[in-house]
């Protein structure tokens, strides 16, 4: 890995961390969601500071260039994250659906009860 590439990785990681922490500071991001990005940035900084680590992994995987290992790492981690997010999104959509339906059903229940009551009163008047 060239020095420039390493510097770029470090700067990118620091910017990510800064932005994530800023969102938490503004109470706009839940800590659970921040953990992944801060860990991700941390790993990239470690890779940039200790390039021999990357060289080692590159050799283990049997690749030619360390930079290729970095790319593979990026793609793999992001792919897993995307997959997990798809699952979360689906669960979330399901929850919103359940919630909306619940609201509509409750409202209908309430209206039905009201109607019943009015009808009951009318019947009472007729008698």
């Amino acid at each position: 890995m060239t020095l420039v590439f390493r510097v770029i990785l470090i700067v990118m990681s620091l910017l990510t961390t800064y932005y994530i922490l800023k969102r938490i500071r503004q109470s706009k991001l839940q800590i659970e969601y921040a953990i992944f990005w801060i860990l991700f940035a941390g790993v990239l900084i470690i890779f940039s500071l200790f390039p021999w680590l990357v060289t080692l992994f590159t050799r283990i995987v049997g690749m030619q260039l360390p930079v290729n290992f970095i790319f593979m790492f990026f793609i793999f981690v992001l792919l897993v994250k995307l997959f997990l997010m798809t699952i979360e999104l689906s669960a979330l959509e399901n929850k919103v659906k359940d919630l909306t339906q619940e609201l509509a059903l409750e409202e209908k229940d309430r209206l039905d009860e009201q109607k019943e009551k009015i009808r009951g009163e009318e019947l009472g008047d007729d008698l």
Binding site: I24, Q26, K28, Q30, I35, L39
Partner: protein
């Protein structure tokens, strides 16, 4: 002076009756509310049939969301104190009294702690507790002997703050953050029972993830947060 006992319940059909009946019969001076966290079992139906005070969430929010619902209720009704109380029977109602006495001395949060006078055992389960205690000590300089205890009592100011803010889960990292921000926290010795029925949802992988999240949060993230004080109602 009023105190609300908040009982978050997720799939606790086997325990909820015992816990609530005990509160109702032996401790009628405390108000309580069960927060059913979208259980898939009969928890909500049992509570409705028995006429318990119930907040029924239509979907599952997790402990933080369920407990916050209870705090929002306490906030709206203007309660002076609120306590988190497990639905599985681990917490004992006899200790609510001593905790109330302590919080009336002017503390923001009182933790029902297993290790004030008792010694912490050297078991696997307590490694996590120790790590979190050390992390809290490192960032705040203060000792919390039982940071993972789920039995916590909050005063009016904390009820408002927890009810209206993001990232205020009832977890050790929030405690550490509030300590750092100058909240006053006391611990009262309590005993806890093993859960009688049902299963704890914590397994090894989940525990590891939980620990990692807590340690990162306490050691790193919480240092960058800005506190937003909320006006009491």
């Amino acid at each position: 002076m009023s105190c609300l006992v908040i009982i978050p319940a997720y799939n606790e059909e086997e325990n909820i009756v015992r816990v609530v009946e005990n509160l109702k019969n032996n401790y009628p001076m405390y108000d309580y509310v069960v927060v059913n966290d979208g259980s898939s079992d009969d928890t909500a139906r049992i509570c409705r049939k028995k006429g318990y005070e119930l907040l029924d969430l239509p979907v599952n929010l997790g402990l933080a969301g369920a407990f916050q619902t209870g705090l929002k209720y306490a906030y709206r009704k203007g309660y002076d104190y609120a306590i988190q109380f497990d639905a599985d029977g681990q917490h004992r109602a006899e200790y609510i009294g001593p905790m109330l006495e302590k919080i009336e001395e002017g503390y923001d949060i009182v933790i029902g702690s297993r290790f004030v006078t008792e010694k912490k055992p050297h078991s696997m389960r307590m490694i996590g507790s120790r790590l979190i205690a050390v992390a809290t000590r490192l960032t705040t300089g203060k000792k919390v002997k039982d940071p993972t205890s789920g039995m916590r009592m909050f005063n009016k100011k904390m009820i408002a703050e927890f009810a209206l803010n993001l990232n205020y889960g009832p977890e050790p990292d929030t405690i550490s953050y509030l300590l750092k921000q100058g909240a006053t926290i006391a611990e009262v010795q309590v005993q806890m029972d093993e859960r009688i029925a049902g299963e704890s949802y914590l397994n090894i992988t989940k525990s590891m993830m939980y620990m990692m999240r807590m340690l990162m949060s306490i050691l790193f993230i919480q240092n960058f947060r800005k506190r937003r004080e909320v006006k009491e109602r």
